[in-house]
C-alpha cells in the first residue's frame, strides 16, 4: 500500500498521523488473529489478549480525540487507491473528525470495559477463546465502520458488524433459542442492508464523478448537484440500513431476541457497536438528510414511533434484560427523532451518553444474573443488600437514563426535547411522553429487582452438562472485582460525561464533521429542562407507588388498562405479523408455493419435455434402424445413385 503517497485532502486538519488511525482498527484485529490462532492451545490468555488489543485501540482513540479537539473537530482524511475497474474506483481510506473521534472513544471505552468484565463473566465457559476472538472482530468491524472514508469500505465493515453480531448472539449455539435469535438478527437486519446497498449503487451511478467518497457525497447533496429524487431515495436507502441495524420500527424485532447472547455481548451491541451504527450512519449523512425534507421527516417519525412503542413494550416485560433491550430501542428512537428534527449534535450527544449508561445497565444486569442465575424479575427482589455495588451503579445509570439532573442523560435528553420542540410540537410531545415511560419502566425494574424480598432466583441444575453456573442462587452475593470494577468505572461517565461534553462546545466539535453548519441558537431552555425533569420524577414516583409501596397493585393497573397491556405484552403483534403473516402466509404459502408450482410445472416441464421430445423422435427414427444389412445396403445404393446422377447432371460429359 502506498502510504507515502498519501496527503490530507482538507486544509483544516487535526495533526493526527495516519498510522495511528490505521492502528486503532488494526490492534483489535491483531488481537482477533492471535486469539483465533492460539486459543485452542492457550485459552487462558485469550481474555488478556483481547484486553490488550482493545486497550491499545482505546489509548490511541483518546490520543485521536485530543488531537481532533485541538483542531475544533475538523476533518483529516487519508485516501489510497485500492483498485479500479473502468469508472469504478475503490479507495482505502480513513477519515477522522469530531463525529468519528466521539464514536472511537465511545466504542473503544465501552468495548474495553466489556472485555475486562467478560474475563469474569465468561470465566469457565468452554468457548471462552472463541468468545474473545469474536469480540475483537466485532470491535474491529465497528471501528472500521466509523473510520471508513468511503461507502465501499463502510459497507464492508457494516456487514462485518452484522456477521460478528450473528456469531456472538448465537455464541451458545447449542441452545435453539440462541441459534434462532442469531438467525433472526442476521435476516432482519439484512432487509435494511438491502436498502443501504441500493442507496450506495444509486448514489454511485448518479454522482457526476462516480464516487464512494463520503465527503464528496455530502457536498454533492448539499449543493443539489444531483436530482432531488436521487437525494431523497439515497437518504431513504441509508435510513433503511439504519432502521435495520439500529432496530428501529418496523425492523426492531431482532433486538430483544438478541438477549440470547452472553450478557456482555448485549452490553456491547446495545451500548457502543451494532445499534449505534445505524444512528452513526444517518448522522454521517446528515447533510444529505438536510437536503431532503421528506426523508428527514421520515427519520423523525420513525424515531418518534420507535421511542414510544418500545417504551410501552418495556412497561410490561418481566425479563430484566428485555426491559433494557426495549429501553435501548426507545433511546435509539430518541436519537433518530433528534436527527430528524435537525438535532444532529443532540443525537450524537445522546448516543455518547447512552453508550455509557446503557453499557452500565447491561453489565449490571449481567452481574445480577451472575448471582441469581436468572433474568426473570419475578424471581428476584431484595438484591440491594446482597449486591451493593451493582445496585448503586444500576440506580445511577437508571437515573441518568431517566434524565434526572445533573446526570449525563439529563443533558442529552434535554437537548433532544429542545430540538424537537423547535421543529415540531408533535415530535416533542412524543419525546416527552417517552421520557415519562422511560423513568417508569426503569424504576419498575429497580424496585422489582433490588427491593422487597428475595424470591430465590433460579435453582441450579448441577446435572445439566450445559450448565456452567458456579454460584449459589439461594444466597446471592456481589460479583467478583473483574465484574464490579467495570461497573464502578462506567458509573463515572454515566454521571459526569454530560458536564464535560455539554452544550455548544460539544455541538461545535461534532459540527466540524459537516461541510456547512447551521446556527441553531441557544441550547438551553428552563421550560424544557424543568418539565422533562418533572415528568421523569413523576415516572419514578409512579413506579415507587406501584412496585414498592403497592398503593396501587400492578395487577389492578394492568386490568385497568386491559386492552393496552395486552397489546404491549404482545409487542403490538408485530412479531406475530412478521412470523404468521409474512413468513408463514406470504412467504411459505404464497411465494414459496408459487416457486414450487413454477418448479413443478415450468422448470420440470422444460426438462421432462426435452426428454419426452427425444423419446418421441427416436421412436420414429428407430423404424429405419431395422437391423437388416440389406436394407442399409439399399439405402447406400440409392444414395450412391443419387450422388452419381447429381454429379453428372452438374457436369455433363
Amino acid at each position: 500500500m502506498p502510504f507515502l503517497a498519501a496527503e490530507p485532502i482538507t486544509t483544516l486538519v487535526p495533526s493526527i498521523s495516519e498510522g495511528i488511525l490505521w492502528a486503532i482498527g488494526a490492534s483489535p484485529f491483531a488481537a482477533f488473529v492471535v486469539i483465533a490462532l492460539s486459543y485452542r492451545w492457550f485459552p487462558k490468555i485469550a481474555g488478556y489478549l483481547a484486553i490488550l488489543g482493545v486497550g491499545a485501540a482505546m489509548v490511541l482513540a483518546y490520543v485521536t480525540l485530543f488531537n481532533v479537539i485541538d483542531a475544533d473537530g475538523g476533518i483529516a482524511q487519508y485516501t489510497h487507491e485500492w483498485f479500479r475497474a473502468g469508472s469504478l474506483v475503490v479507495n482505502l481510506g480513513v477519515r477522522v473528525d469530531g463525529l468519528t473521534a466521539i464514536m472511537l472513544v465511545a466504542v473503544t471505552t465501552v468495548s474495553f470495559l466489556v472485555q475486562v468484565y467478560s474475563t469474569g463473566y465468561m470465566a469457565g465457559d468452554p468457548g471462552i477463546g472463541r468468545y474473545f476472538a469474536y469480540m475483537c472482530l466485532f470491535t474491529t468491524a465497528m471501528l472500521g465502520l466509523v473510520l471508513a472514508d468511503n461507502l465501499f469500505m463502510l459497507f464492508i465493515f457494516w456487514e462485518l458488524v452484522g456477521l460478528s453480531s450473528y456469531l456472538l448472539i448465537g455464541f451458545w449455539y447449542h441452545r435453539p433459542a440462541a441459534a434462532a435469535a442469531a438467525k433472526k438478527a442476521f435476516i432482519v437486519t439484512r432487509v435494511g442492508d438491502l436498502g443501504l446497498l441500493a442507496a450506495i449503487l444509486l448514489i454511485w451511478t448518479r454522482t457526476p464523478t462516480h464516487t464512494f467518497d463520503i465527503a464528496t457525497i455530502q457536498q454533492v447533496a448539499a449543493n443539489h448537484q444531483v436530482a432531488q429524487w436521487v437525494i431523497t431515495w439515497f437518504a431513504l436507502g441509508v435510513l433503511a440500513g439504519a432502521i435495520g441495524k439500529s432496530a428501529q420500527f418496523p425492523l426492531h424485532v431482532w433486538l430483544p431476541d438478541a438477549m440470547e447472547g452472553p450478557t456482555p455481548v448485549s452490553a456491547l451491541i446495545h451500548a457502543a457497536t451494532m445499534v449505534v451504527a445505524g444512528v452513526y450512519l444517518v448522522a454521517r449523512f446528515f447533510p444529505v438528510f438536510e437536503a431532503s425534507p421528506d426523508a428527514r421527516q421520515v427519520v423523525a417519525w420513525v424515531g418518534a414511533i420507535t421511542a414510544i412503542m418500545a417504551a410501552c413494550i418495556a412497561l410490561v416485560q418481566t425479563d430484566f434484560k428485555r426491559v433494557l433491550a426495549y429501553s435501548t430501542i426507545s433511546q435509539l428512537g430518541y436519537m433518530m427523532l433528534a436527527l430528524g428534527a435537525f438535532g444532529y449534535a443532540a443525537a450524537i450527544f445522546h448516543l455518547f451518553t447512552n453508550a455509557f449508561f446503557k453499557a452500565l445497565l447491561f453489565l449490571g444486569s449481567g452481574s445480577v444474573n451472575h448471582s441469581t442465575n436468572t433474568f426473570d424479575m419475578r424471581k428476584m427482589g431484595g438484591l440491594r443488600k446482597a449486591m451493593p455495588i451493582t445496585f448503586w451503579t444500576f440506580v445511577i445509570a437508571s437515573l441518568s437514563l431517566a434524565g434526572i439532573f445533573p446526570l449525563a442523560g439529563f443533558w442529552s435528553k434535554d437537548e433532544i426535547l429542545l430540538d424537537a420542540w423547535r421543529d415540531n410540537r408533535a415530535l416533542w410531545a412524543a419525546a416527552f411522553a417517552g421520557a415519562f415511560l422511560t423513568a417508569f419502566y426503569m424504576f419498575r425494574a429497580i424496585f422489582l429487582t433490588f427491593f422487597g424480598d428475595y424470591k430465590g432466583g433460579e435453582p441450579v441444575d448441577h446435572h445439566d452438562p450445559e450448565n456452567h453456573f458456579h454460584g449459589d442462587p439461594a444466597h446471592p452475593h456481589e460479583s467478583p472485582w473483574s465484574m464490579a470494577g467495570p461497573l464502578l468505572v462506567l458509573a463515572v461517565p454515566a454521571v459526569a460525561v454530560g458536564w464535560f461534553a455539554y452544550r455548544d462546545a460539544f455541538a461545535d466539535f461534532v459540527n466540524g464533521a459537516l461541510p456547512a453548519v447551521e446556527e441553531s441558537g441557544s441550547s438551553f431552555e428552563w421550560g424544557i429542562a424543568i418539565s422533562s425533569t418533572i415528568v421523569a420524577l413523576a415516572g419514578i414516583g409512579l413506579a415507587y407507588a406501584v412496585y414498592y409501596k403497592e398503593w396501587v397493585t400492578s395487577k389492578s393497573l394492568r386490568e385497568g388498562f386491559a386492552p393496552l397491556t395486552i397489546l404491549f405484552e404482545n409487542k403490538f403483534y408485530l412479531d406475530r405479523l412478521y412470523e404468521d403473516f409474512f413468513v408463514r402466509t406470504v412467504l411459505q404459502r404464497g411465494w414459496n408455493r408459487l416457486l414450487e408450482l413454477n418448479d413443478k410445472y415450468v422448470v420440470d416441464g422444460i426438462v421432462n419435455g426435452t426428454g419426452q421430445l427425444g423419446r418421441e423422435l427416436s421412436q420414429r427414427l428407430r423404424i429405419v434402424q431395422n437391423g437388416q444389412l440389406q436394407t442399409y445396403g439399399l439405402g447406400f445404393a440409392a444414395g450412391v445413385i443419387i450422388l452419381v446422377l447429381a454429379v453428372f447432371t452438374a457436369n455433363p460429359l
Binding site: 431395422n626 437391423g627 437388416q628 444389412l629 440389406q630 445396403g633 439399399l634 445404393a637
Partner: protein, 110 residues
C-alpha cells in the same frame, strides 16, 4: 467373314458387361434371403469390379501397364479369403440357429 460381323469390341462393351454384372450382383446381394446367395451376389460384384479395372488398365495408355492386372490379382486373393471366412460364418450360424435366412438372424434387434 463378312465385314458386317467385324464389329470392333471397344471399351464401351467391356464396361457395359462390367456394369451389368455389378447390377446383377448387387440385386442378388440385396434381395436374397439365403446368406449363401447373398455371398454369391457379393462375389459377382467383386468380379464385375475386376473386369472394369482390367478394362481401364488395357485401354488407357500408362507407364505401368500391369498395374490394373496386379490390382485384380489382389482383389481375387482377398475375395477368396473373404469367401472362406464368410462361408465359415454361415456354417457356424447354421449350426447354432438352424437357419441361414438373413431376415431371421436378428439377435441385436430389440
Amino acid at each position: 467373314m463378312s465385314a458386317l460381323f467385324l464389329v470392333t469390341i471397344g471399351i464401351e462393351n467391356f464396361l457395359a458387361v462390367g456394369a451389368l454384372l455389378f447390377a446383377l450382383g448387387f440385386a442378388i446381394a440385396l434381395s436374397k434371403r439365403n446368406a449363401i446367395g447373398v455371398l454369391m451376389g457379393v462375389e459377382l460384384m467383386l468380379n464385375a469390379v475386376n473386369l472394369t479395372l482390367l478394362t481401364f488398365s488395357r485401354f488407357s495408355p500408362s507407364d505401368r501397364p500391369v498395374a490394373g492386372a496386379t490390382f485384380v490379382v489382389f482383389v481375387i486373393t482377398v475375395a477368396a479369403a473373404e469367401a472362406a471366412v464368410a462361408l465359415a460364418l454361415a456354417v457356424s450360424v447354421y449350426r447354432n440357429r438352424d437357419t441361414v435366412d438373413v431376415d431371421k438372424i436378428n439377435l441385436l434387434k430389440s
